[in-house]
């Protein structure tokens, strides 16, 4: 029956009912496309931030708080004048390390451990003809910084020739690098958001200019600022959401690729090879499983975040514009 229009017709009617014709004011081409591009950029930057954070956390905690100390000729007695008891050089160093502040664990590698350490160079079946230096691991309590140079000076007075290697140094450098990468990535995200706000505001203003007459008319008929701003804001939120969704779908393969490249550094979960299954949901699931959880959350948040930015920006822009009307 033609008398009663279907739900879709009625919904469609209600959409153009107030004459704002938002589909013309804010066309559905350029904005979603640009938002999609920015969403990809944001996804990459956020991936960088996440990755940098993971690496930074790893590098600045693990090996950072350990020093390796080599004492050559470990079994030779110390020659220092002050010492009464005749300690071997290695025992003297061990004793000195035990009362150095901040040391949480002092461990001298035993023969088996040394063997394992040297196996790549000397082979498995070793019988050391030469005296190996004693290798001592000094673990520092978390939060304390070992002053390696002062320690080296002190140990050398006890057992000259003792070497200290700071495993921490590289870890710290990498950690600092990761931290600055993290800041850069966050800055990039902020810039992308800033550009998105400017772009959406400009698009909204163009839409307002294009629909000036109907806006003035319905304003004069008693449409509130909230109503008009809400109509525009829902439209840009929808377009931005579509753009954000497209952007996150586009970013997904890039991120999977990146996280596979980065996996050995982060030593995260083993990366399962996606089965050559035709099941797309399985494939998507497998792909998502290769990404670190924060990154998956980021990816899922992109479209809603884009929608929110679109909504807020348009609300502010339209309300400011309407202030010029009486």
């Amino acid at each position: 029956m033609a008398e009663r229009p279907g739900l879709f017709t009625r919904w469609n009617q209600a959409r153009r009912a107030d004459g704002l014709a938002l589909r013309r004011a804010l066309p559905d081409r350029l904005l979603p496309l640009l938002v999609a591009a920015m969403a990809v950029l944001a996804a990459l930057a956020l991936a960088g931030a996440t990755g940098a954070q993971i690496l930074s956390a790893r590098w600045s905690n693990g090996a950072a708080s350990m020093l390796t100390i080599q004492v050559p000729d470990p079994e030779t007695p110390t020659t220092t004048a002050g010492t009464t008891a005749h300690l071997t050089r290695s025992d003297a160093v061990l004793a000195a390390l035990a009362d150095s502040p901040g040391a949480s664990r002092v461990h001298r590698l035993d023969k088996a451990e040394l063997g394992a350490l040297l196996a790549p160079w000397l082979g498995q079946d070793h019988d050391f003809a030469l005296t190996l230096p004693a290798i001592i691991e000094l673990h520092m309590a978390t939060g304390t910084q070992a002053d390696a140079t002062a320690l080296a000076r002190r140990l050398n007075t006890i057992a000259p020739g003792t070497l200290i290697e700071r495993n921490a140094e590289w870890g710290e450098r990498l950690g600092r690098l990761a931290d600055s990468l993290h800041s850069c990535a966050l800055l990039a995200v902020a810039i992308v958001v800033g550009i998105a706000v400017v772009l959406i505001a400009a698009t909204t203003r163009a839409g307002l200019a294009a629909r000036r007459l109907p806006i003035e008319l319905i304003h004069a008929m008693g449409a509130t600022d909230g109503y008009i701003a809400g109509r525009f804001a829902r439209r840009t939120a929808l377009l931005a959401f579509i753009g954000g969704l497209a952007g996150s779908v586009l970013a997904l393969p890039i991120l999977v690729l990146l996280s596979r490249v980065a996996a050995p550094f982060a030593a995260a979960t083993p990366t399962p090879t996606p089965a050559s299954s035709a099941d797309w949901t399985m494939l998507a699931h497998t792909l998502l499983a290769t990404l670190p959880t924060p990154l998956v959350a980021t990816l899922l948040a992109l479209a809603p975040a884009a929608a929110l930015i679109g909504w807020l920006t348009t609300q502010a822009t339209v309300r400011a514009w309407l202030r010029n009307l009486p």
């Binding site: 008929m221 449409a223 509130t224 600022d225 009486p326």
Partner: protein, 226 residues
């Protein structure tokens, strides 16, 4: 009811200094009770449209106080003004129909801004389309209509939501005598139902046929109230 006290209005012309901006209205004071009808008379440029613009809350007075439907305009917040505007119907001198909306949707605007259910909107719009004799033109766009037809659409849009205040600026200038008479009957009915009505016109024959309280303007001043 509406009440004006020493209302002055000046268009702020862009580029012109405040002193040289044209003064449209000076020291206008009058009252119209609820359900009252007023002719608004005066030569071209006297300020009739300007006065209706103030009453429609499309501009704020430069001086004086204005009270519309019991609310003082100067103190009203934006949301309150919007609420007041929804209780006002305006027939503009230049119609102001939206050219890209069908006649039906143009007329439905006030109801849809009140978020009335679509069923109700449809019934109301169809019955008023019948009344203005445009039932067959519901899907036409305003530019496809004659001047008189456009004016009837503008009238239908102004009254469809049964406004408490109806402002009509030359509402008969594109109508024939028969249509003009029917419009006057409508105004009489609405006034009887409590709608306050102001009609600006140059149509002397109509004023003679429907004598009523007159407000006469000249050069922005109110010459006569009676």
């Amino acid at each position: 009811m509406i009440r004006l006290r020493d209302v002055g209005f000046r268009y702020d012309a862009a580029g012109a200094s405040a002193a040289s901006a044209p003064v449209a209205l000076r020291q206008i004071s009058f009252e119209v009770p609820q359900g009252g009808f007023r002719w608004l008379l005066g030569p071209s440029g006297a300020g009739k449209s300007s006065l209706l613009r103030l009453l429609a809350l499309a501009a704020r007075p430069t001086s004086g106080t204005l009270e519309i439907l019991g609310s003082s305009v100067a103190q009203a917040r934006r949301a309150a003004l919007a609420r007041l505007r929804r209780r006002i119907g305006v027939v503009h001198q230049d119609f102001r129909l939206l050219p890209d909306l069908p006649v039906f949707d143009n007329i439905a605007l006030p109801l849809r801004l009140q978020h009335r259910p679509e069923d109700e909107v449809r019934d109301e719009v169809h019955s008023i389309l019948d009344w203005v004799g445009l039932a067959s033109r519901a899907t036409a766009r305003p530019p496809q209509l004659s001047g008189g037809e456009q004016q009837r659409v503008a009238i239908a849009r102004a009254v469809i939501h049964r406004p408490a205040l109806l402002l009509a600026d030359e509402p008969t200038n594109a109508l024939d005598e028969y249509q003009a008479n029917r419009l006057m009957e409508l105004f009489r009915d609405l006034s009887g139902l409590g709608t306050t009505i102001l009609v600006a016109t140059h149509n002397d024959a109509l004023i003679r046929r429907y004598p009523a309280h007159e407000l006469e303007l000249a050069q922005g001043r109110l010459l006569r109230d009676g």
